[in-house]
Structure formats: structure tokens, C-alpha cells
Subunit: 445 residues, 2 copies
């Protein structure tokens, strides 16, 4: 049995994110008690290994959840800045994905998870590349991070490097093999289907995935309606708007997560709302690649499930939920005035809404008795968070990634006082730099 007691913090408690002065007791992986003045002395007598964390003057928050990341791309950070979208994809991201080997993928995944934990993200939904996804799964498993990870599926498309092109059967079998080993609804690291996007998958593949996923309660994670060119291609190939087409082939529903949805018309928004399909909002990426601003306010008003992700490092360039959460709010305010998407709602998108997209809202996303202990401790007692009239608002608008001091995932302390406990930060950086140079050389960039 492992126990962690968090004392004297201001804790963001429950579904309504109320800030309360309470202590938290975590037993094994689960939050078992939330109340003022939990007695540390008597607990320590029963359990000499009890970890006590003093959170005086600090904010204790549910860990953030990002629902659209590409861990495999973190090694490409800065490699595609200021390029045209097609050059971005065809000259950099695809050749670099094609050049990945297990060592470079492990380096990229480690670098990603270390950055995510240091910036307060405890859970993620990710899309990897076509090959070696087992390496990403194994690497993430070792870090203590919580993730649902998909092998990228691409059985169609122009300009795709040969190494990334699959036939339909191989693509499906490779995904099914991973799912057999890694899909478990109770596991910390799980597997999902990750077809790249409508343009790069045959209709047959998408329909088959949809059927298997529904029967086996598996998540499908894909991109949709990120940019205008993409929706034009889908429309010319299928005669349908992108989201309509996805619905037709079975990719609409509570187990479907669509990254971006920047260009979705009212009918498509209605489909997303009615089917419970999840939208994964990536504000920095949508700006940096010139895609646009997703109609988040409209989708939320219709009842669409919206959560947040940083997307890949080549189009962000960070994996920092604080930047994405603040920007999500600011962009909607620009569109609809200063009261749009207030702090509490932005916080919700970055926590519980992410848990819902993952189908894990009963397990994570808020601090409640019985939930898994995915918890961060944030120190707001610094210059840029002073004064602090409202803790939640300060967390959303003022705080930075570097204010996160302690991170607990599934009851395990994975960072304390900004020191990673399951990874060696210096070694991760050195390995990433080494693997980056080798990958660039293999990719011929």
C-alpha cells in the first residue's frame, strides 16, 4: 500500500471546481479522503512510508488533460517553422516521421512526457506515426504518465512517403495487434485507433475500424476539418462535408474524437452535438498553420463536447496546456467579447472535458473521492501571479508551466519541487538532441 497526504492546500474540488481549504489523502491510486485537518501524525504511525506533501499557500488542481498530441513529432520541434502548410507536411513532418526508428521514437516520447509532466499535464490522447507505436506505448508506460495512444493509419493519399504508405489489411492488422496487447479500459496506458484523416484513409478502412471500435468500446482518434483545402478534397471525393462523410462511414459518436474542427458548418456542428462526438481544440496549432479559429463558442452552445490539445511540437512549438487554455479563452473573447469563454469554462475544457473525450470522466478530470489521483500542485506565490484575487482565474490567465511544482499520476509522485522522479531530465535532453541529428540525417533534410 502506498499513501500520499497533501496538507494545507487550496484544492479545486469536485465537478464544479470549487476552491476549498482541505487536505487530500491518496491510497494506492485512489483519492480516499477530502476534508480539512486530516491528521498526519496518526496516519504516519500506521504507515511509515506515508508521503506527506505540504501544499501551504499552493493551489492543488486536477492534472490537466490534453486530447490531441503527437508524441512522435516532439523531436521535430522547430524543424518546420514559418513554412507553407504543404512544405510543412511534405518536406518536413512526413519525411521525419518516415525516418523514425525505435530509438528516435523513444527519445521523442520521453521528451514529450517529460515536458508534459513539467507543465502539469497528467493525461493525453495521442496519435503516433505509422510504425513502431509499441515503442511509444512501452516508453510512456515506464514514465508513469497516463495516455491513450494510437498508431497512425494511412492506406491512401498523394505525396505520402513510401515508408508511411500501408495497404488496408496491414494497417488494420498492425492496429489490432497493438490493441490486443495494450487496450484495457482500466489501464493507465491504453491503445486506440488513429486513422490520420479522411483523405489518407480508404472508406473501407474507416468503416471496418468503426465497426470494431463500437463492438469493443475502443476510441477512434483522427483529424477533421483543420483547413479549407482538406475539406475541399473530401467534398470533391465524396460529395459530402467532412463531418457528414465521417458520420456516413461510422465516425461519429461518443467513442470518436476529432482534432481541430476549425471549418465546420452549422449542420456539421449539429451532427457533432447530436452524436456526442468529441472535438479536440488546438488553438496555437490552428493559428500557427494558418488554419483559422475554431467556432468553440458556437459548438459549446450547441452542446458539443470540446477539450484541448497542443497538437505536435512542429506547429505549436510547446506542449504547454497553460498556453492552450489561456489562448482558447482569449480567442473566443476576441470573437464574442470579454465575457466569452470565462476562466472556469477554460479550466473545464482542460480537465474534465478531456476526461470525457477519453471516456474516463468517472476515473479522472476532477478531484473527488473515489477518483484516480491525477493531481498537480501549483505555486502561485510569484511575481506574475501577484496579486491573486481569484485562484482559478489566476491559474488560467496568469500562471505559467514553470509554476507547477508537484505532479501525481495514478497516486505516484512523478515530479516533486520540479524534479522529475521517473525520468532523468538531463539525459532525456541529451538523448533527444543526439537522436534528432541522426533522424535529420536519415531523413536527408
Amino acid at each position: 500500500m502506498s499513501q500520499v497526504l497533501i496538507k494545507n492546500g487550496k484544492v479545486i474540488v469536485g465537478l464544479n471546481a470549487q476552491v476549498e481549504s482541505v487536505d487530500l489523502l491518496v491510497k494506492d491510486k485512489i483519492i480516499v479522503e477530502i476534508r480539512p485537518n486530516i491528521d498526519a501524525t496518526s496516519l504516519k504511525k500506521q504507515d511509515k512510508n506515508l508521503t506527506i506533501i505540504d501544499a501551504s499557500d499552493k493551489l492543488v488542481s486536477p492534472g490537466f488533460i490534453q486530447t490531441h498530441l503527437h508524441l512522435c513529432q516532439t523531436l521535430f520541434r522547430g524543424s518546420a517553422d514559418d513554412l507553407e502548410l504543404l512544405d510543412w507536411l511534405r518536406l518536413r513532418v512526413w519525411p521525419m516521421e518516415a525516418a523514425h526508428n525505435p530509438a528516435s521514437l523513444a527519445a521523442s516520447a520521453q521528451l514529450s512526457v517529460a515536458e508534459l509532466i513539467k507543465s502539469g499535464t497528467t493525461s493525453a490522447l495521442t496519435m503516433e506515426t505509422v510504425h513502431h507505436t509499441e515503442t511509444v506505448l512501452e516508453t510512456v508506460e515506464r514514465t508513469g504518465f497516463r495516455a491513450t495512444i494510437g498508431k497512425c493509419m494511412m492506406d491512401k493519399g498523394h505525396g505520402v512517403p513510401a515508408r508511411l504508405s500501408e495497404n488496408t489489411t496491414d494497417s488494420l492488422n498492425a492496429s489490432l495487434d497493438l490493441l490486443k496487447s495494450w487496450h484495457s479500459n482500466s489501464g493507465r496506458v491504453r491503445c486506440c485507433f488513429a486513422p490520420r484523416f479522411a483523405i489518407s484513409c480508404t472508406q473501407g478502412l474507416l468503416e471496418t475500424i468503426s465497426k470494431i471500435a463500437q463492438e469493443n468500446n475502443i476510441l477512434i482518434h483522427t483529424h477533421a476539418s483543420e483547413n479549407r483545402r482538406e475539406i475541399e478534397v473530401v467534398e470533391s471525393e465524396t460529395g459530402l462535408r467532412n463531418v457528414e462523410y465521417l458520420q456516413k462511414v461510422g465516425l461519429a459518436g461518443k467513442n470518436i474524437a476529432l482534432a481541430h474542427c476549425v471549418h465546420v458548418n452549422e449542420r456539421e456542428q449539429q451532427i457533432l452535438a447530436e452524436t456526442g462526438t468529441h472535438v479536440l481544440h488546438c488553438p496555437s496549432s490552428n493559428l500557427k498553420l494558418g488554419s483559422g479559429i475554431a467556432p468553440i463558442t458556437e459548438m459549446l452552445e450547441r452542446g458539443v463536447s470540446v477539450s484541448i490539445g497542443a497538437d505536435g511540437a512542429p506547429c505549436n512549438n510547446n506542449l504547454d496546456i497553460f498556453k492552450e487554455m489561456r489562448l482558447s479563452a482569449l480567442l473566443q473573447k476576441m470573437r464574442y467579447g470579454s465575457t466569452a469563454l470565462p476562466a472556469k469554462k477554460a479550466f473545464y475544457l482542460a480537465t474534465l472535458a478531456g476526461a470525457k473525450a477519453l471516456g474516463l470522466e468517472k476515473e479522472i478530470g476532477s478531484i473527488e473521492v473515489g477518483k484516480h489521483a491525477d493531481i498537480i500542485i501549483v505555486n502561485l506565490n510569484n511575481l506574475h501571479c501577484t496579486p491573486t484575487p481569484d485562484l482559478l482565474s489566476t491559474l488560467v490567465y496568469s500562471a505559467n508551466a514553470s509554476d507547477v511544482e508537484t505532479v501525481i499520476i495514478d497516486g505516484q509522485v512523478v515530479m516533486h519541487n520540479r524534479e522529475l522522479k521517473t525520468m532523468d531530465e538531463k539525459e532525456i535532453i541529451a538523448t533527444a538532441r543526439k537522436e534528432y541529428y541522426q533522424l535529420v540525417s536519415r531523413a536527408g533534410i
Copy 2:
């Protein structure tokens, strides 16, 4: 004589921001040598007090320059989040400005400068409140920071608290008194005129200021065309577009700095370009208050001088140039595609362009022999900046405020290894919190 030698860094040198492996020697306030392998040992023999800073594996950059800040408002951080624009101003910012006394203003200014230095800003153009601006000037002078500071002038307007309303003569005399004591074209802390905006100043006041400013080479810092309601009021009162009206009363020219310019039509942009009037772009603030996105790409194409500022903490909520520089680039990419406003241009807006707005491009804004030593050292050897294919691009898109390790202003080391040298960080935070509570109580909020 005081000397600082910065060894082994990657230095962003000159007007074209070339990254070079060179050492830098600073003598008193001035950069006197830029070349590889400056010999520390022989220098140390001649000057036992020589400060040697090892910048191995680090990026040495000109300090950032922000051209629109309100130091007096930093104490209002978080006090007006998610409010309607008019409530933001009338229920919070104006009553809080009216409630300022010298102690709360000094606390706010200290808090601001400490945050600015810790995030790599070495120079600023600021607008303070109506009263006690001498306190801000004195406080900033003591910190070692470089700033051009203006007393806010308001001799007109509806809904202004009595404490902030002035008659024209008093407003002018108060500004002239400050200028007499503080305006010096060679001083580190200087004074400027700061009429709030067209709506809150009489035409007579603006014309008088314009005349005095031109004759005495004084900067005028004001707000213009931030939101649609403001330009409607100017248009209904004067029959002119805001920038046309400002030009008519003498507020267009190389000594005029206009914050925001979100809603400026082509004719107004042409006036700004032809007269050399400076535009101070505040992207976070313009989003958070629902103002819009300034047409930066269009203005730059016309040759308008554009630089960057964080505006006040109640509408940002940080004073962090890294957030503003990155967002400036990302917003224009959203408008014009992924190649718009590339990293090097964003860096220019945050450095040399700011120096130009201040009329100090011969003194600061780049690292060159003969310029004042306003220099920062940034450590990019961390997770979120790895890998680092291009140092300048990494600085703009990946780096965070917390990566700034050392800050030198006018040859003085004001921060080293993230420790402030001219201020006591803990005391500043404690004082700010105390003064905030007293100010809120005085303001009756």
C-alpha cells in the same frame, strides 16, 4: 569603471540579428567589444572587479523592449477578468486607479519591473495614472530598469471618477513639472506626455501637448482605435476617423506612439506610415478585451513602425514579452498563412522596433559596439526548447519567460541565475499583496 565580460555565448548580433559565437565586453554602460576569444585573464589582471559571466550553451540576446505598459495597473492583475469592457473600465480599472496612493503605486511599479526583468524585458514605454507619477519614476529609477514614463492626462470624458478628472491647465502643469525633473534624452528613466485617449482629452490639451512635444523632442504616448465604440465616439464628436483626428490636432509623427490601432482603415494606415507614427501592438490585450486583431501585416507592408507591449495586467494578465511576441506572429499567420510574420520579424518587433518607437534606436535594441548594454542571457537547454534547429526561432516560438537567466541593463547586472540583484523578490510580493488589499478597500470594491 565597471566591466562585464560575457564569454562563450551564442550572441544575436547587430541590426540583422545574426547569431554568432562571440564574447562581449561591456565597459561602464556601453558594449565596447564583440569578438571571439576575448581574453578574460588579461582583463582580470587590469580590473579585479571585472564580472565574468559564462554563457556557454546559452543564447545572448538584446533585452526585449515593450512599448505599451501601465505599471500602475499591475496591482489590479486578476481584478477584472471576464468582465464586460465598460464594467472592466468603470467598475474596476478607473476606481482602482483613483484609489492609488504613493505606497500602492510604488508597490505596483516594483512588482511590474521585477516581473519585466525576470521575463527578459529591459526597457518600456509606460502610461501611469493621473496622480503620483513621480513615485513611479523614482521607483523605476532605483530598480535599474530603463523606461519612458508618462503621467496619464484626462481633462474630459463621461463616467470618469472625480479623482481622475483634471482641468486642462492642471493636467498640463503637472506633466510639465514631471518633464522638467525627469526628461532627459540621455537618461535611463525619462518622462513623456501620456494623454489617455482622444475621448478623454480636449482638443486644446492635445494641440498644446503636440506643440510642446515637437519643440522639445518629447514623446507622446496615447491609446488609439482600440475598440469600435471608441472610434464611433471620436467620429461622432469630430466627424473624423480617430487617426485622422489625431493627425489634425498634431498627434502624428515620429514622436507619437499610438497603442493598439486595431480598427484603422487604409487611409489611417497610410497616415501612420507617411508620418512615421509608431503603432504599439498589444495582441493578448486586444483578444482578452474583445477588441480584435490589429492589421499588423498590412501596416508593416505599408512601412508603419510597429512594436509590441503587454498592456496592463488586468487585460493580459502577464507582462511577458515571450507570450506577446509568439502571439503576434501566430495571429498574423492565422490571417495570412503560416509564412506570415516569421520568427525573425517577430523578434525585430520586440527589440529594435521598440527602440525606434522610443527614439532610442541608436542607444538600444540590438547588440552592437557603442550601444548601451541592455542584454539578456537565455538558457534554451531545457525540455521545451529541445531540439533547437534554429536559435532565433526557438526563442520566439518555444522559449518561456522562465528561461531568462541573466539580465543586464545599462551595463548593470540586474538579474543573475534568476535572482534579482536590485530588488527583493519576496518582499515585493508581500508588499504588493498588502497594498492590493488596502487599495481594494479604499476603492470600495
